[in-house]
């Protein structure tokens, strides 16, 4: 595959829930190694956009390509594509009946087909990357929110995805735990991981994002560098929104 081909390419994406049109034509290309930040008012369709990318939601029309593979094509093995798209949720969604290592290695065994020993080795390495090697045998209810979210990131990382999607990864965390998760995300960015992040962490966006996208009412209103969007956006709406977030 050619080097300049976007890792993720969204074209003319529409999504309706019944009569409610939530996405009204989204076009987006994410290059390898890029960190794209998505902001916008509640209900603007940010989560729905991410969830369409790995088909947790079925798009109504448009196309989505991951590493050039059409996610929507009838012949596409969606489970194989999902291995390439890691997803991190606001509410962590760790499996409560498995310890951290079990959480991280389950898909390696079931989807990649590794033996338990191989999967645990790779899982342990992923936990190490998020700084939780020593918590491998802790169950989710024995971990803090920040640690749980880092295990969730390790779970996605273990599959060696081409891109990671984050949906408000720090919104459910106590303020003092946010930093540990952002530190992991910053480390991932520095190691060249391609990421799309929906979040209200403006300080993080300013320092880490390559590009910021502002969504409203199911459309991308404006996009650009953090400096441009945060300091001199073309739209008054964005100024108001950013002011409301940063108080």
């Amino acid at each position: 595959m050619s080097g300049d081909r976007p890792i993720l390419e969204v074209r003319g994406l529409h999504k309706s829930f019944g009569h409610l049109e939530v996405l009204k034509g989204i076009d987006l290309a994410v290059r390898k190694g890029e960190l794209v930040f998505v902001i916008g008012p509640s209900g603007s369709g940010k989560s729905t956009l991410l969830r369409c990318c790995n088909r947790l939601e079925e798009p109504s029309s448009g196309s989505i390509l991951v590493e050039g593979v059409d996610v929507m094509a009838p012949g596409t093995n969606i489970n194989a594509v999902r291995r390439r798209i890691g997803m991190v949720f606001q509410s962590f969604n760790l499996y409560p009946h498995l310890d951290a290592l079990g959480n991280v290695s389950l898909a390696l065994r079931k989807v990649v087909g590794q033996s338990r020993a191989e999967a645990e080795l790779a899982g342990q390495a992923a936990l190490e990357r998020v700084g939780l090697a020593e918590k491998a045998n802790s169950f989710p209810n024995e971990l803090s929110g920040g640690q749980q979210q880092r295990v969730a990131i390790a779970r996605a990382l273990a599959l060696q995805p081409a891109i990671l999607l984050f949906d408000e990864p720090t919104s459910a965390l106590d303020p003092e735990l946010v930093g540990s998760v952002l530190a992991v995300m910053r480390e991932l960015r520095e190691s060249g991981m391609t990421m799309v992040v929906v979040s209200h962490e403006m300080r993080f966006a300013r320092s880490a994002a390559d590009r910021v996208i502002f969504m409203d009412h199911g459309l991308i209103v404006e996009q650009g560098t953090p400096e441009k969007l945060f300091n001199a956006p073309d739209h008054q709406r964005i100024k108001d929104f950013i002011a409301s977030i940063e108080h």
């Binding site: 194989a80 999902r82 509410s91 389950l106 898909a107 969730a152």
Partner: protein, 225 residues
């Protein structure tokens, strides 16, 4: 005087000794049916709940209909129906099988509802997390959802199972040689109710450990979460 009479009536050692072997025989038949009911009822209930998870509309309509009917009917009606009514359309079964089948179906229906409630109680985010890592629907069901659902299921299922296995006594009506039937028969031969006392003791010996097991299960799985 009175006391002696009471002892002679309900605790007549001679009668008890005479019919003890019969009661023991009934004891083992009760265990046999109960175990067969537990195995068949829970396994088929689990299977139905798993099938229901696929959410195939027509199939689920049928499952829900059957389950509701089976939960509404008194088990005795099923036993008598299987044993006395089905032969009219050429389906014959022994009293043992009629009792086993009726109780298994009832347990299946309740177990299905309990397992299904357990599946529904697992948050949607668990499905999404698993599917987003590439697990298939079936893998998600077996490796992520069911282990959590079963844990929620165990206390209510244990209680329901105990209640339904006690229904083995209903087999007496169609002359299955379980505890109650043996005790009743012995009573009618001896004109002495001592065998009934013996039968009650046999039930206690059988079910008190089960009740304690149920309580143990309940506390154990209540803590773990």
């Amino acid at each position: 005087m009175q006391l002696e009479r009471l002892a002679d009536t309900f605790f007549n050692l001679q009668v008890m000794q005479q019919y003890l072997p019969k009661i023991v025989e009934g004891f083992f038949i009760t265990i046999q049916i109960a175990l067969a009911v537990v195995l068949a009822g829970i396994a088929s209930g689990l299977l139905l709940a798993l099938v229901r998870a696929f959410r195939i509309k027509a199939l689920n309509f049928f499952i829900i209909l059957c389950v509701d009917i089976l939960r509404a009917l008194p088990p005795l009606v099923l036993i008598i129906g299987f044993y006395f009514a089905l032969p009219a359309i050429g389906i014959r079964m022994s009293a043992w099988v009629a009792t086993w089948l009726a109780l298994s179906l009832v347990l299946m229906a309740f177990a299905e509802e309990i397992f299904w409630a357990g599946i529904l109680a697992v948050p949607k985010g668990q499905w999404e997390a698993a599917r987003s890592t590439g697990l298939s629907f079936v893998q998600t069901l077996t490796d992520v959802v069911m282990p959590q659902a079963v844990r929620l299921t165990i206390p209510p299922l244990t209680n329901r199972t105990i209640a339904i296995t006690k229904g083995t006594a209903l087999g007496a009506v169609v002359a299955v040689g379980e505890i109650l039937y043996q005790a009743q028969t012995a009573y009618s031969f001896s004109y002495n109710p001592s065998p009934l006392v013996l039968g009650a003791v046999a039930y206690l010996i059988l079910f008190i450990p089960v009740v304690y097991f149920g309580r143990w299960v309940e506390t154990r799985f209540a803590w773990k979460r």
